[in-house]
Amino acid sequence: MKVEPVTLWLDDRLGIGSIAQLARKKEIPIHRHSIWYYFGGMTLFLFGVQVVTGILLLLYYRPSAETAFESVQFIVTEVQFGWLIRSVHSWSANLLIATLFIHMFSVYFMRAYRRPREVTWLSGVFLLLLAVGFGFSGYLLPWNKLAFFATKVGTEIAGVIPLIGKPMLRFLRGGEDVTGATLTRFFGFHVAVLPAISTVILAVHLALVQLHGMSVPPGLEGKNLRKMKFFPGFLMRDLIGWILAIGVLAALAALFPWELGEKADAFAPAPAGIKPEWYFLFMFETLKLLPPKILSFDGEVLGILGFAAGGLVWFILPFLDKHERTRRPVFTVIGVIVVLFIVTLTIVGFVS
């Protein structure tokens, strides 16, 4: 009796009843590929973990070349459960990229980008770019030796791009070299610019998912598929996955704490076998394997331009594959080749 007026009051002003109704009405098709539906939710959950742990880290982190390393050291040694928050933030970031890739390729192979979900795909690819940007900018923040040189190499690669390369390199580094100015800049990107853009794009992405509902693979379209209620069935299953993800993150943080390494020193020699984060490895290895000259062009420049062109094609994919219902084995084959290429070169990168 006492609760009802409050919900009515809220419904009257916020319209929560319609949201609850939408949740009650929303249904998830059940078929042999339904498992892939969970990866979007998992990515969203890990993003939430990043937001929470990131805010907690912000309470102690100090973004300058003189204090960054020491403040992270303080977090992992002196702050109560600081080690847990920092390790969870680092591990969760990596798991997020992994689930994001899985989510993207599942959407690709199920051809869920088809009409009317083109904008959902575009916003998703944009979110992937943002996530990679989060990874690249966040990697430097502890200001350790590995991060310093990886950022140096990473920004150098960006600097090779014709015309825009040099200005972009100076913009990213805040000067000619990786310095304290780069650190504060990356910090700004990591905690303000990227989160602001991500929030907007993520809102659009989620709103579009609600608007269009779950996509069904072309081969199953029109069949009388069983349905599962989004609430409580699907959401509670999602919840099980998220709780298990917390367990995995806790185990990784406790058993394999994320290393801090040595403080960055611009005058020290670069450590041997310097490598970027695993999700950049396939590109890094490709650029390494390319010959210095292809015809009369610089091999590295061609490689970077190749990746840029590939990324663009990937981005506009819904406009290339317009056939709505028919099977398109060409796209499946291309997808398999892309996955094999990424997996193989990532393994090569780890082994070499």
């Binding site: 080690w83 367990g247 185990a251 406790a254 704490p257």
Partner: protein, 434 residues
Amino acid sequence: MKLTNDPPSYSRSRLTFFALIPMIALVLFQTAAAQKKDSCVECHSRLEGPLSEPVRLSKGDVHNARGLSCVDCHRGDASRDDKAAAKGRQTGFIGKPRSSDIPRLCGQCHSNAEFMKKFNPSLRVDQESEYSTSIHGRLLKSGDQKVATCVSCHGNHGVRAVKDPLAKVYALNVAETCGSCHANAGYMNSYRIPHDQFDNYKKSVHARALYERQDLSAPTCNDCHGNHGAAPPGLASVANVCGQCHSRQASLFQASVHKTVFGLMEAGECVQCHSNHGIIPPSDEMLGVGEKSACTHCHGKGDSGYAAAEEMLEKINQMSASISRSTEILNRAERAGMEVSKPRFELNDAKDALTQSRVLVHTFSTDELDKVLKPGMDVANKSYGAGASALDELSFRRKGLAGSLFFILFLAALIYLKVRELERRSQAEKPAGG
């Protein structure tokens, strides 16, 4: 001030012009000198065997490179083709100089500051007078023709600058050069001095630094004995010689009780414990009363020095063991993924204390040792404590993880059962509703 007020273009061009005059003159002079006839080289280059050696060796000779020629040392007339005329009495030809004449012959130029300034203003010009104070110089003066003179160490026709790695007196080659006589038992026989210095030196810590690390600042023969004034340092001056590099140890020793005692014993200060040419790397075992102890050479059971030696070693060993214990636990914590770089950095203070204590043994006072070892020990214990708490923290994390995983799995199972129940209920409701 005046110069800067002048028109710069005019003053500069005039200065440049005047600066060029001597340079042009020098070039013209050198060209003329190069074209000048040198019958010594002409004839000796045609000869075979030892007589052609001077011409061959002179290729890398520092004197030859500076424009000096045979006649500058040997006299004679190089413009004459005829051997008798070139080496005639009236030309002052001196052929192969006698050993006793060599220091003066070289000194004619090398003791002349004004002359030497033209070639190298920073070069010393006291070699000849220094040589006369050396054992070599004194023996030469007494008529011994076997002793080393300038050419014995520097060579005669192939004299190279000291900084030239091919020079016989380059830091890396000095010991071998000295050893060519001093390690020759037959040659040294008549002087009744040992000939094992070179062999001993090669085993020393100094030789290791010089040859293995290529550390040219590491001492070789001339750094302790002097070069031109070479002589063994007297008993009273040994500490001064070693103190040139080991200044802290030397000053501590000078203020210690052993300074007076060693003086009374007529013992050679540093060399009494460390020896001379074959100085091995000092170790903690040189303290104490064990087999390798240097203290037991003089001290016996029951005297206070014996007890002090034993106590000093014990304190240093304790410090060393404490550092090892702390390092080991920090390594374990680090291998387990714990962040221990701060206590590891702090442990360096304990290592410094250990190093300092090894220097302070030259005070031969346990109280002095305590002054650095006590704080060092505190640091080592603190680092050990940090390592131990890191491992405790690790164990806490693992226990915490086990507990949370149990709770997480339990919660997941509960939700799963709830979902199943809800689905069963909705399945059951459907036909009823339908």
